[in-house]
């Protein structure tokens, strides 16, 4: 009996640790950073060195630097990429992300904004220099619904959540939720490694 309890405790604590690993959280209204920003510490780097590290990261990853949004201690870049394709997530899901990196001696504080699109007909999305999105031949696409509208579950198969009769959001696609978390966490992991 004690052995079973011990194993169960181990499993629970492993899951807690795993859950804490994520820098982001996904809920029925969207994806967000729990404390609004992620603070990364680089005690051996000066402000100038961190700036160099950020610009190298942007160039290496082909992100788009946004000078109009950037300032003395802030660098902003935009990314536009697939979170997931139809074969895996039942629709093509594409994110437009703006990452705001505020930095100083020894630290970077990361916050972000995003707009996520989905298409069940394989629309090829385009983005211009003004960060506006359209589709090739105006193929249908829309803003991604994290929660399928009530009674429309079957036509929003890519939604992570659905609403039950009591209008409470219910998780129905945990694998898509994990894909979202992996996708967003990768930005932070890549930046730390860069």
């Amino acid at each position: 009996m004690r052995k079973i309890i011990f194993i169960m405790l181990c499993i629970i604590s492993l899951q807690v640790i795993k859950a804490q690993e994520s820098y982001f959280k996904v809920e029925h209204f969207g994806v967000y950073i729990p404390n609004k920003s992620i603070v990364l510490s680089f005690p051996n780097l000066t402000k100038k060195q961190i700036e160099t590290k950020i610009f190298k990261f942007i160039n290496d990853k082909n992100y788009v630097y946004k000078p109009l949004l950037s300032g003395d201690s802030r660098i902003v870049f935009r990314d536009f990429s697939y979170i997931c394709k139809k074969e895996k997530c039942k629709a093509d899901i594409v994110a437009k992300n703006f990452f705001y990196l505020d930095y100083g001696d020894g630290f970077v504080k990361i916050s972000f904004e995003n707009e996520i699109y989905s298409s069940i007909v394989g629309a090829q999305l385009l983005i211009n220099n003004n960060d506006d999105v359209a589709s090739e031949n105006n193929a249908p696409f829309g803003i991604y619904e994290f929660s399928a509208p009530y009674k429309y579950d079957e036509i929003y198969p890519e939604s992570i959540f659905t609403y039950n009769k009591a209008s409470k959001p219910t998780l129905r696609n945990p694998e898509i939720l994990n894909t979202f978390l992996e996708y967003y966490n990768q930005f932070i992991i890549d930046f730390i490694k860069s």
Partner: protein
């Protein structure tokens, strides 16, 4: 007895097909609704996209095509805003005053309240092009003010 059973089976199977067909039709119309909504979204995004795709071009190319801007201003961080504005204003409708009809003793025989259907509007559609020191358009804002 056998005939009755056959009829019952037939009725139940028909009902099943009807319910199934109804469900498929509902699903199909819901899907059509989603696709229709997303088609409208795609088309409205395209309109914005086509105009804002001037970002990245030289401002002289825009001026050659659109003519001179209606307003030019500077931002504190050194960008120039070239604005193309179109003002729409006007008024219409009519005002019907109310009236009261009385007899010689002051009794009200008929009365009508005034009716005011007048309206006026005044707004400006704008396209703001933010231009950097190299004369490159780096941001386009569209809206109404």
């Amino acid at each position: 007895m056998k005939t009755k059973t056959v009829i019952l089976i037939f009725i139940f199977s028909s009902l099943f097909f009807l319910v199934n067909a109804q469900s498929l039709a509902n699903s199909s119309s819901k899907l059509d609704a989603r696709l229709n909504k997303e088609k409208i979204f795609a088309e409205s995004q395209r309109k914005i996209f086509n105009i804002t795709s001037w970002a990245g071009a030289n401002i002289s190319e825009l001026i050659n095509k659109w003519g001179n801007c209606t307003k030019k201003s500077e931002t504190p961080n050194g960008y120039t805003i070239y604005s193309y504005e179109t003002r729409y204003s006007g008024s219409g409708g009519n005002y019907k005053p109310g009236y009261v009809v009385t007899d010689q003793f002051g009794n009200v025989l008929h009365q009508e309240a005034s009716k005011d259907n007048t309206y006026s509007y005044d707004f400006t559609d704008f396209y703001d092009f933010y231009v950097d020191k190299n004369n490159v358009i780096i941001k386009v804002n569209i809206g109404t003010r």
